[in-house]
């Protein structure tokens, strides 16, 4: 029997706030983070609500005590702020001394900065903007985390669209299992950018109003931003340092739809297989799953595919499930890690997070997510889904220990 991989520390920042407590409290109070953006400079600001993190770049720089001439993009600032909770919960010397991996994920790196400076980038000459010239790379935030916290990890950066940080978690677990490293900090970060907003808008799948996952009248997603990281190690390693274990990462699966560049199979083949394989790895039956944190973007395609997959897999005995994207927006590369943390917290607190804004079941599929906060539920195992462009799917299974 292979060693159990456990989650022993987490940190995140979303439109709901900084840290796990602020995020859970907001969701318990049914308080969404969606609003018209104030930091993102776009002509569409008054048109769409988004899950924008409340802090300005300046406020985050202050939280991090950065010098005025720092060159961190908003993406990197979100990552550094999210990481604080992990770093503060840990003997940092242990992280520096023992073999560590840092697996980060992003979809557009520091595009939020680059899109403002791009005309200067490609024009002749030079200027103060030069310090941001490398910030487009997704790996920039990864290296920023290591440099800021003076870590010397094995680093990798993943980009598989909306499943990116779920893949980061999976890779970290695999590296630990094979003895490459003792611990892995895994997660992702994405800041709102005009590039991403206009990209999704050109696909006509962004909702102006708060999104309605799994609803008949859903019209699309809300974009969000954020960053989240989870510290993985073996159960033995966590016990050895007397750490509080939050959950076991008991199963995972990465698979591909191989169906269409941007749309899933309407039958949800990919989603079905991914969830099934993750459960199989964890040795779980459908009846063991207490809660599913669905990908639930509220796009026409995702929800019917994911909903169909859930109904097929759980055939008649559908567990509590909800999408938390009406709270945070779709945070893209960060979503997998953010929602993994929500899933773990829900399991630990014995609550089911509500799927806000759901009114009417889809006509094709009489399936209803959980719409209220349910308390005092005994949850032993949860699934967290992340499905992305390019058919990239990941499901993670977490179990109570």
């Amino acid at each position: 029997m292979a060693e159990k991989i456990v989650v022993s520390s987490v940190g995140l920042v979303t439109a709901l706030g900084l840290g796990i407590e602020a995020n859970m409290q907001a969701m318990r109070q049914l308080r969404s983070g969606l609003r018209h953006p104030v930091h993102l400079q776009t002509i569409h600001a008054g048109e769409f609500v988004m899950g924008e993190v409340e802090y300005s770049n300046r406020q985050m720089a202050e939280l991090l005590q950065l010098p005025a001439d720092h060159n961190y993009s908003r993406t990197a600032l979100l990552a550094l702020v999210a990481m604080q909770e992990i770093i503060n919960s840990f003997d940092i010397e242990l992280l520096r001394k023992e073999p560590l991996a840092l697996i980060n994920a992003g979809t557009v790196g520091g595009m939020c900065t680059v899109e403002d400076l791009y005309p200067d980038f490609i024009a002749p000459g030079t200027g103060d903007y030069i310090r941001y010239i490398d910030s487009l790379d997704c790996a920039e935030s990864t290296e920023d985390i290591a440099a800021y916290y003076k870590l010397k990890p094995l680093m990798a950066t993943i980009s598989t669209a909306c499943s990116s940080s779920a893949n980061a978690l999976m890779l970290g677990a695999r590296m630990i299992k094979q003895g490459l490293v003792k611990r892995a900090i895994c997660g992702g970060c994405d800041a709102l950018s005009r590039f991403t907003l206009n990209g999704f808008n050109s696909l006509k799948n962004v909702a102006k109003e708060p999104c309605k996952p799994f609803d008949r009248d859903r019209v699309g997603l809300n974009l969000g931003e954020g960053a989240a990281y989870l510290l993985l190690e073996t159960e033995a390693s966590a016990k050895e340092r007397g750490a509080r274990i939050l959950a076991e990462l008991s199963g995972y699966c990465n698979s591909n739809d191989a169906y269409h560049p941007t749309a899933p199979s309407p039958y949800g083949e990919g989603a079905y297989n991914t969830m099934q394989q993750a459960m199989k790895m964890a040795g779980l039956q459908p009846g063991d799953i207490g809660y599913i944190n669905a990908h639930g973007t509220a796009t026409i395609n995702n929800d019917i595919a994911e909903g169909t997959a859930i109904s097929r897999l759980f055939d008649g005995k559908i567990p509590y499930f909800s999408s938390t994207k009406p709270f945070t927006g779709h945070t893209l590369a960060a979503a997998g890690a953010i929602e993994a943390i929500f899933s773990i917290a829900a399991m630990r607190e014995g609550i089911v997070l509500p799927n806000m804004n759901f009114d009417t079941p889809m006509e094709e599929l009489p399936l209803a997510p959980n719409t209220q906060l349910v308390e005092h539920v005994d949850i032993q195992h949860v699934l967290s889904n992340s499905f992305g462009f390019g058919g990239n799917n990941v499901s993670l299974a977490f179990s109570a220990l």
Partner: protein, 356 residues
């Protein structure tokens, strides 16, 4: 200890003749514009006419190299794992420029969709109907090596035969060349790309591009070369890199003298000369030192071209003259060590064995 990864097939679209029928690396291609572009191929072989019209060069060359590699190996992939420094950067540039010019109105989604880093992987999965493990690394100059590392993890986990399609790809664009020129990536003087390594006393290198794919397997099949060991190093100094080389040799039961060929990623940049020489210098006169970036240019996944060349050298037991920097071989080539440094200072080591 990781298992060997057998290289069942390699396919590479590069600035040289490295793809398709006909003699490899002949005639030699060169440029004096500070950047090299791939020798374009007939991409209709693997891509439908409808899809091909909208595709950027990067997508076309990457999908083609990947599909050809699978055809050469005669297998279906059990996983598709790739690395790219910047993905389809021309699509990104296109969408970004349009967004700025058109002031966020009436944008074409195709450029946005194709600009996502995993779009090549999505297409490859679609074309091969491969629903299994699919991963894209985007860690600058180590993107390709991280894909190899993941392939190694995947093979280590396997109980059955696995054929993994692993690759690296990047494209060079005029804008990208301008942008990185501002932070000293490229040589200021105009040179013939084939003479890049003779200009090692000035700063900078030349830009390049390419798509390299490999079928890596735990099954030897007809493979003639295997990746025995792999290591990525983040911004190592001389001592750290030399220690890593010694450690890799030791873990594989080797001494420096056992290495027949050192394939260096030296790129003609005076700033990096010391690091490269510290690596190649460890092997004395016994090893033939070869290089490749004067053939493909330097880019985030240039080591993909390097691995294609390394596989060719070991498989064919023949070193293309144009790659030789020092030493001449007449005996068998059993062990080849690739030592690469990226422009941003990261490094990687890849040890190849011949399979007899």
């Amino acid at each position: 200890m990781s298992k060997a990864m057998y290289i069942k097939a390699a396919s590479c679209i590069s600035p040289q003749h490295s793809y398709g029928e006909g003699p490899m690396l002949e005639p030699l291609m060169s440029s004096d514009t500070g950047m090299l572009h791939v020798v374009e191929q007939d991409y209709r072989k693997y891509i439908s006419p409808v899809a091909i019209r909208r595709m950027s060069r990067l997508l076309k060359m990457s999908i083609t190299a990947g599909m050809q590699c699978l055809a050469d190996a005669g297998v279906q992939p059990d996983a598709i794992i790739t690395g790219t420094g910047r993905g389809s950067v021309s699509d990104m540039e296109h969408f970004l420029s349009d967004m700025i010019t058109l002031k966020e109105e009436a944008l074409n989604p195709t450029y946005f969709i194709q600009s996502t880093y995993n779009s090549v992987n999505g297409w490859l999965a679609l074309q091969t109907k491969c629903t299994k493990y699919n991963e894209t690394f985007v860690h600058r100059g180590l993107s390709f090596e991280l894909a190899l590392l993941d392939a190694q993890l995947t093979l280590n986990e396997a109980n059955d035969t696995q054929n993994i399609l692993a690759g690296g790809f990047d494209e060079m664009t005029d804008y990208y060349h301008v942008v990185k020129g501002k932070i000293g990536y490229w040589k200021k003087e105009q040179i013939d790309s084939l003479e890049l390594l003779q200009h090692g006393n000035t700063d900078g290198t030349i830009g390049g591009e390419g798509a390299s794919f490999f079928v890596l397997s735990n099954d030897k099949g007809n493979a003639r070369a295997a990746i025995a060991a792999l290591k990525v190093l983040h911004k190592p100094g001389v001592a750290e890199m030399q220690n890593a080389i010694n450690e890799m040799l030791e873990q594989n039961g080797l001494v420096a003298n056992d290495i027949d060929v050192v394939l260096s990623g030296m790129n003609g940049d005076a700033k990096q000369k010391k690091l490269f020489e510290a690596g190649t210098g460890m092997f004395g006169d016994g090893a033939t030192v070869c290089a490749y970036k004067h053939l493909c240019g330097d880019f985030d996944t240039a080591s993909g071209f390097g691995l294609w060349l390394a596989n060719k050298i070991v498989s064919e037991q023949n070193i293309p003259t144009v790659t030789i920097q020092s030493g001449v071989r007449s005996d068998a080539i059993d062990k080849l060590l690739m030592v690469n440094h990226t422009i941003t200072g990261d490094a990687s080591l890849i040890l190849l064995n011949s399979c007899k």
